[in-house]
Symmetry: C5
């Protein structure tokens, strides 16, 4: 994992300039030109159509024998939002939430205007293995689901395929079921991410057991942070799903709620799994610290053993390297008390034996202390 992956992690927030009027949605200059796809379907048929622009939301979806899914990728056209407001009476604050970059997952019901607004967050790893955190906004009206997405990244493919094939409940369940289906794809993707990080932690653990290196700490912290990111999304996602379950809006069918309960269970499992992976990450960090201090102990042992054995021996050698003289070279006086050992016939051998004995005693001492293990 590249080092620069950790950079800019918490810069995902486009800050509103303090004091700007709330409900004033602005279209960023760099915003992508919208790609609009209209899916028209009922139990019998399904058609897909690319639209250049939208003139009248109400007209587009006027045949009530069908359900509609308007999938808008790229937010770079302010007229869409103006029409949402004038034709579908979507609140300005909702439009601001769609265009501003960071909203937590949430559900808002606008009963008087008969629509529901919801936000999911799509997390995925991009080509550089950086975690992207993209907002998917939903507007649900009786026959129509409108989804908004800031860029062209495609995560709806599985849902589109199921719509085409028409298998299962997807074409029968109405717009609220379709919204559930999209949200479910997003939530299921969290499992893929967690699995990826789980394997990353396993790999780190393997390195820990086999060959601990300095990058272990960095890599673990990296995954820990990404777990913090996903947790920040998973908790409000859970609340959102719970809000759907308890919603009394007529727009959300009771059959859909049965399925949402399933997604809610998944979300709880995800939170469980996040906590579990976080504990594994922490345990890796603890283990690493323990390994580092064990290694320190070992390094110190080597130093201490070497020093303790040789320093006294070197001292002894130093003693007999002294130049105390047996006779004064000037006066010629014999000094018999000065270093008589030097003149013993076996002085050298005895000295070497004593040195050897000292070394052996040291080795035994350290052996007994268990320092060689």
């Amino acid at each position: 994992m590249a080092k620069n992956k950790t950079r800019n992690k918490h810069k995902h927030y486009k800050l509103p300039a303090p004091g700007t009027s709330p409900g004033l949605y602005t279209v960023d200059e760099n915003a992508l030109k919208p790609i609009i796809t209209l899916h028209t379907y009922n139990a019998q048929s399904y058609t897909k159509q690319e639209l250049e622009k939208i003139d009248d939301f109400n007209k587009l979806t006027e045949n009530k024998d069908f359900n509609y899914w308007i999938d808008i990728k790229g937010l770079g056209d302010v007229t869409i939002f103006e029409k949402l407001n004038s034709q579908l009476h979507v609140n300005h604050l909702v439009l601001e939430d769609i265009t501003s970059s960071y909203q937590r997952p949430k559900l808002e019901e606008y009963d008087t205007d008969n629509y529901v607004f919801a936000v999911s967050r799509h997390l995925y790893l991009n080509g550089d293995e950086n975690l992207c955190n993209e907002q998917i906004s939903f507007i649900l009206t009786p026959h129509t689901l409108i989804t908004f997405q800031e860029n062209y990244e495609d995560c709806f493919n599985p849902v589109r395929k199921r719509l085409e094939v028409g298998k299962g409940n997807i074409r029968l369940g109405g717009s609220s079921y379709l919204m559930y289906a999209v949200m479910d794809v997003i939530v299921d993707h969290y499992f893929t991410l967690l699995n990826y990080w789980g394997e990353g932690l396993d790999a780190i653990e393997d390195r820990l057991y086999e060959k601990p290196d300095k990058r272990i700490m960095f890599d673990t912290q990296l995954i820990k942070r990404e777990l913090i990111s996903i947790r920040r999304v998973a908790w409000p996602e859970r609340d959102k799903l719970n809000d759907i379950l308890r919603s009394e809006s007529s727009l959300i069918s009771s059959q859909t709620k049965t399925y949402v309960r399933d997604a809610y269970d998944h979300c709880i499992q995800i939170i469980d799994l996040i906590e579990s992976l976080k504990e594994i990450a922490s345990s890796n960090i603890d283990m690493n610290l323990s390994i580092v201090s064990n290694r320190m102990n070992e390094i110190m042992k080597v130093l201490t053993i070497m020093s303790s054995i040789f320093i006294p021996l070197t001292f002894i050698a130093g003693i007999y390297g002294m130049n105390f003289s047996r006779e004064d070279p000037v006066t010629g006086k014999v000094l018999l008390q000065n270093m008589p050992e030097l003149y013993y016939p076996h002085g050298y051998m005895y000295t070497l034996l004593i040195m050897g004995a000292i070394a052996v005693l040291h080795v035994i001492y350290f052996w007994r202390k268990g320092w060689f293990k």
Copy 2:
């Protein structure tokens, strides 16, 4: 405990491919062929029967003078699930929960179709002492309990024996009591596991007090992780038992609830015990860290004592090992100021005495500092 025990701990989750249609249960190719056992019993009689396959659930259990327990081990036959759906009106989502690999313990009541769905998780150590985490699913209808299990591991033996013997409430309490009895066996097994790990922690503690080694950290972390695993099961298990207690379904008799309260108490004790063992594990880790740094202190003391004593002595020996000359060998000039000590009659002895004194002073100094304790 083997090192590779920690591997793959969090890979227990078979991930649903994001975007697959919910409620689409799939039978894994590698799924085991089901072994079906039918237990027919009432207060007076009990018979056990191995079935090849099930043709009609309703027919099988049509005699309402008896209660039935259909025990299905191995999920490799899709027709069973199709018949559950067509004959007993079991929801597709429930069937998906049975076949998909990881569900948290939970209770779901389907009042309109008059059945209850529940999940327990059977934890056990396999032959390699790895913790296995298997799902047991329950479908409870008025006279019948159906249990599902992915593999052939047998944990129902004690219940079967009690059914055969007919002692206690087991044959009288109806299907809900039987479901309770199976769940109770599973929960009671958690005590066995906790006891096993508790003994593991005791053994680690003994090593800690007697001969701390490097594996202590690894082994403690291992048990800590397994405690995390069981905690992840015990908390939703507690919630599930509580849900049973507060259930208003007619399928769960009030007598059964009295017993479930008992299991609920056990579950709280288990959670208590898990927390307590986790604290003991943490305390072992703390103790280990403390021991490691105490040992480091000791190593450093040995090094410092040896160095501090001998380095100055070696220096003195070095002084008198210098070759400053008493007379210039070339010019023959006598240099009386150069190292006159070397030519004192008792220079050597005095030097040795001074060295001894320095060593003794050092020893006294370190003794006073308490470094020899």
Copy 3:
């Protein structure tokens, strides 16, 4: 405190064999033969009687002018439990709770059979200063309190004395007051324990400030664990007392509840005190770690000061201990460039002065760095 005190701390749980029929109370072979004491009292009189066995609970307590306290120590007689079931209609699960070894403090009301079941846990230090955790079970019927205890350890003495003397409310308050009085004795005993451990922590702290030794960590962890044990009892005890306060059973008089509120306050104080002592224990551990690393710093300083001063000096001595020759002993060629210092009249003295200067500079350097403080 002896090292072996920590052993087997969490082995207090007698595990039910998984799958045994619930409500099947078993009498352990090693269970003590019961000592039964019957206390008969009202406002005017009090008599105490040792019973060999109990034939009929109802007969024993038939005179409704008196209140009765049947105190059973030792659970080794299965007939008592059979009679409790047949004569007082005590539930099998309750009997199992009495005979099985570990129940958390709790209150269970059996309104239809007009009795209340409660559990307290008596904590005390035995002769070896090990913490014992004994279960006291209560069955409260309109005129009678029955208490059960596994061994002969006597903790009811203060209550018995108050019964004899008849002072205060003890003889007037009915059976529920007596139950409260026993529970209160047990809870008050927790204060004694906490005081004991508090003094232990104080003693450890004194050692910490005066002469930190290696056992500090062990001893603190020991007390910390015992605090964990008592906390595990105190929390459910609090819940139990709260359940009594909110109980609507006619068996518990409102006057008794006034007193239970007092015990409830004590219990909250105990929990407070436990948390406070735990924080003191943690603070002792932190302090110890800090002391250990300060000591390490000091050891390293001694080593570094000694080495830094003497290693350069020894090097200089080594220089002038080299044998570069002033004349080739073989050819007799004079080599004036080789170590001319050795032949300076004051070479030795200058060398010693330079060495002294280096040492002084080092000392000043370390002094400035504050290493001598």
Copy 4:
């Protein structure tokens, strides 16, 4: 701060002997003789009177045109409590709470006997800067406030002055307002303490940044403990004030509640401030640990630099200090291979140059590693 300040911190609790009859208030032998002050006041007048003893509470306060404050300092007279019981029907348990030494702040309403009992805890630093934790008990009846205090420490002075001056609401607000006023003085005093400790932490932080010493850890832990002590008081204090706010007793006027809401806000601010100071204390401890290990790093660097530079040089000097002989002094055989460097005309100089080069290379190496910063 003196070292012995930390001693006996948690010995504030006078333990009731387990099993003593509840509601039996005892007057300690060492209890101080009570000093009783009667304040009689209404909107127009205020008189203060020292009483020797109290004969009849009802008679003393019979003129309902006035409010009364009976301030009792010292609990050494049992007759006061007897009269409280007989004349004002104060419950025995309340009297026990007044005389026993440690009660958490609380409010108890005795509606049938028309009085309210409350406890506050007065925290202050005594002359030795030790934290004292004294109990102030309140009995509030329609026209009278009675306060109890164990010793003569005076904290009511500001309230007394306001009573004398008659400014503000103090004489008009009735007894409940007076009780509030006293409690408010006590709570406001907590701010003074927190400010004192806050300055202590600031001073420690200054030492940390300028000259970290070994006592930092001790001093910080000391303040941390005192923060724990005050937190243990502040939380139940908050609950008590909340209980007053929600009390439906006619004794507490709704005007008083407006003011109590203010005190409640202060109490929340105090808790906020405690948490904030605790975090600062923890951050000081973390910082200290970091400084200690940085210093260790530095010490080790000095040692390693000195050793790495001089050990090889000393080795080289050792080489040329060897005595391999150019000719056998006995046989006179010339050994030209033995240490010919010693007889090179410039051997000494080259050796010194090589030594210098090695030293310079080491210095460059460590410089590059950033060890000199």
Copy 5:
């Protein structure tokens, strides 16, 4: 960031002298002379007026066709507060809250006097990059908003501009919308601060990865503390906004509440972001500790490698530096056993070879241990 930034962080609290009468607002001698600005506006028009002083609040705002905003900067004029009390019946306690320096964000409704009191806290960095925490108080009456601020720091500029321009809802939404608009500006400013600290943490992280220095710990702790400060404000801010949402006061229009819900969402995002930044700060600290101990390991390795290689070699050199004599210079006795190696023709060369071999073996040993990585 300057070191002295951390000083005095928790001295923001002006302590009320314990025992001063509550509701006695005092005007500090150093308080700034108020600058009063009156904004008069409705959908059509907007005028701004600087006032010297306020004579009659009611008269000033008597034309009910307009809404009024009275912006008071500087609290140094006691007459304003007296008139608020006499003319608008604002409670003394509210006035005390406005003038006293620290109140947590809160909402208080005074229904009988038909006004609402609210507090926000404006956080900003002053010129020295110190975090300032200023109180903004609001009094909301049917047609008028009065804001109070202690100093002249201007944070209302964006709101004033929107009032002038008249764009959006600002002139139409009534006083409650204006109050919301001001609060929203304050809350939005928190994002700016968090962004600033987020970038600070990023910069620290960069230093951590590239060149860890000693100030990392200090700088991180600094930001951590500022995060603690803002968290202490954000939580009660959230509660306040929630109180507004649930308020039933007629002064707060339901349209305003729609917008407040938006601000409430922002506030939750802020709390999220704070927690996330705190975790990043902690992770930086952990990383730093890990880096410090890794560096220690490295230092020790260098020392150990150098010592282990050269200490034995120096010892060998010391051996052959000993002066055991081949013949007694005095007696002339030949001592053939003393250091015969010195007189071998190739003794010196063999010695050097052995030394080289030892060094190489050491290097191989450390290489294998992975110490050179």
